[in-house]
């Protein structure tokens, strides 16, 4: 750090200027990541005013008040507590589904970056698979295999796995043309080594962007399945099932039951999209 005037800088100066530059460079990452982190922390750590899975039969369909901040639903559940508690299952499930999709995308997409008749054939088969309405397919699969929570995970992977495979393969194909891959092969590296040690580090950035988009998509898939009553057992709060319960009350005037979980879904998706946008800009900038 040059300091020609001999003035002592405050010890925090480098930290402040650095972090300020970081924020300016990527407001999306900071805002989106911050909001997401806030929601995750809140759902696990925030003190809840009422038990989210024990209804109070004496307080049914109450409008928002000081006691019930977001009101109560037809069974006497506190909407505020349940909106927060739902994040405990919805968000980690979305993240896990994304992680599983990413792993599958890497394991299948990277080796498929070898141009051959076989890999082209696989991609065409994947095209055919993706041309199905996959959400319908996953609803069918989940309802056939039973109401387990891991079935929701499978649904997310069915929808997002092919996207990851396609993205990673495309990216890897262009990286494979690089001279440094030829150089790697010339060092005697096995194909598996070339793919996972030399090519994979180069696709990390596009994967990061896709991961936040996929998580946003997973939040929607989870909410949609839960809305349809799939993959959820009643007292456990989820945003999707809460919207479903609330939707029935809208016609009789109790708007607050459906709105708040809807807002939570919106915030989760908005934060993830901001994050994706911010990462995308950083990737392009570098």
């Amino acid at each position: 750090m040059s300091n020609p005037a001999g003035v002592r800088q405050p010890f925090f100066a480098p930290f402040v200027t650095r972090s300020a530059r970081y924020v300016r460079a990527s407001p999306g990452i900071v805002a989106g990541g911050g909001l997401l982190l806030f929601m995750l922390l809140a759902s696990f750590l925030a003190p809840l005013p009422h038990d989210p899975i024990t209804p109070d039969p004496t307080a049914v369909l109450q409008a928002p008040s000081a006691e019930y901040v977001f009101g109560t639903d037809a069974n006497g559940f506190d909407v505020f507590s349940r909106v927060i508690a739902a994040g405990r299952s919805d968000l980690p499930l979305a993240l896990m589904g994304t992680l599983a999709s990413l792993v599958i995308g890497l394991l299948i997409g990277l080796p498929l970056s070898v141009k051959s008749r076989w890999s082209e054939g696989f991609m065409r088969a994947l095209d055919a698979f993706q041309s199905f309405p996959l959400i319908v397919l996953s609803v069918t699969i989940v309802s056939l295999t039973g109401n387990d929570i891991q079935n929701i995970l499978y649904a997310i992977v069915i929808i997002n796995g092919p996207r990851f495979i396609r993205l990673i393969r495309g990216e890897a194909l262009s990286i494979r043309d690089g001279r440094f891959i030829e150089a790697a092969i010339a060092t005697g590296a096995r194909p598996r080594r070339v793919v996972f040690r030399h090519i994979m580090p180069n696709v990390v950035d596009v994967c990061l962007v896709q991961c936040s988009l996929t998580t946003a998509n997973a939040v929607i898939v989870i909410a949609a399945l839960n809305f349809l009553g799939i993959g959820v057992s009643p007292p456990t709060p989820t945003w999707g099932s809460m919207v479903q319960v609330g939707a029935q009350a809208i016609s009789t005037g109790q708007w607050w039951i459906a709105i708040w979980p809807g807002v939570a879904i919106f915030l989760a998706i908005a934060s993830l999209n901001m994050l994706a946008n911010g990462i995308q800009r950083q990737v392009e900038g570098s």
């Binding site: 141009k115 051959s116 690089g178 001279r179 440094f180 030829e182 150089a183 790697a184 092969i185 010339a186 060092t187 005697g188 590296a189 096995r190 080594r193 040690r197 030399h198 580090p201 180069n202 990390v204």
Partner: protein
């Protein structure tokens, strides 16, 4: 050491089949340096890629052989070829920034090259990498190891590539225009470095270049190529003093005379930093 006989390779394209090299024959004797010269598109790079099995998927060796220490690399199965590549034949590519992975630290790239052939502990790797970087005159090897390719100068990057190519002490080094992408002032240093490394390790060198001066200075033998064919081959002294082929004569005549070389004023008072 390396005996290439009747090597013929072709590429399949939309317009049909293109024969890139045709009946290429030459030899790299033990401990000698051989230069391949020729204009752009004469098949120099295709020749060495055919030898190393690095042709793209649409290219193939049609006939001929490339015998290295008694084994024909062209007909060798892929697993055995991998054992030879990198370990017994080192490869230095044209553009050092192209041949270094942009997202891996230099240390990771050393690790990758070693790990392609054997296991190594973290501390052993570091010691080895530092030692090898010092042997190619990289200053501050620890700092370089932590850094990435884009932080290096062209000369530095090519030194790193050379150190990587020599990592397994190969008996043959193949260099594909190792100085073309570099600043003129660095070219000589890099060539001297390759030359020194080759001589120290009693290795053989196959040097692809289009600079006849480089061949005259660093090689024992020369292979002159034109449109995919070898037009002349022999000892550098013989070929250059008494070229038997028209094309070689034209090539030699095309080298600009340099009587002025001694008169070029050096920048006074400036030390030359290597």
């Amino acid at each position: 050491m390396l005996r290439v006989t009747g090597l013929t390779s072709q590429f399949r394209g939309r317009a049909g089949v293109v024969r890139a090299i045709d009946d290429v024959t030459f030899e790299v004797p033990e401990g000698e340096s051989v230069g391949i010269v020729g204009e752009t598109g004469s098949g120099k790079s295709v020749t060495i890629r055919s030898v190393l099995g690095l042709l793209p998927s649409y290219g193939e060796v049609v006939s001929g052989s490339a015998e290295f220490e008694g084994t024909d690399l062209v007909r060798l199965n892929r697993a055995r070829l991998r054992e030879i590549r990198g370990a017994r034949i080192g490869f230095v590519a044209q553009n050092p920034f192209g041949s270094l992975n942009p997202v891996l630290s230099i240390e990771k790239q050393f690790r990758n090259v070693v790990r392609a052939h054997r296991r190594i502990s973290r501390t052993d790797l570091r010691d080895l990498a530092v030692e090898r970087l010092e042997s190619v005159q990289v200053r501050g090897p620890e700092r370089v190891l932590r850094g990435y390719a884009h932080e290096l100068s062209g000369g530095m990057a090519q030194r790193v590539v050379i150190a990587l190519a020599m990592l397994h002490d190969p008996s043959l080094v193949i260099a594909d225009e190792p100085t073309t992408a570099l600043d003129v002032t660095v070219q000589r240093q890099i060539l001297d470095l390759i030359d020194a490394q080759v001589k120290q390790g009693r290795r053989s060198l196959l040097l692809v270049t289009h600079d006849l001066g480089v061949v005259a200075q660093y090689c024992h033998r020369v292979v002159v190529m034109k449109s995919g064919k070898v037009v002349e081959t022999g000892l550098v002294a013989d070929v250059f003093s008494d070229p038997s082929h028209d094309y070689t004569r034209q090539l030699l005549a095309a080298v600009p005379p340099a009587p002025w070389a001694d008169d070029v004023p050096s920048l006074s008072g400036q030390e030359v930093h290597r």
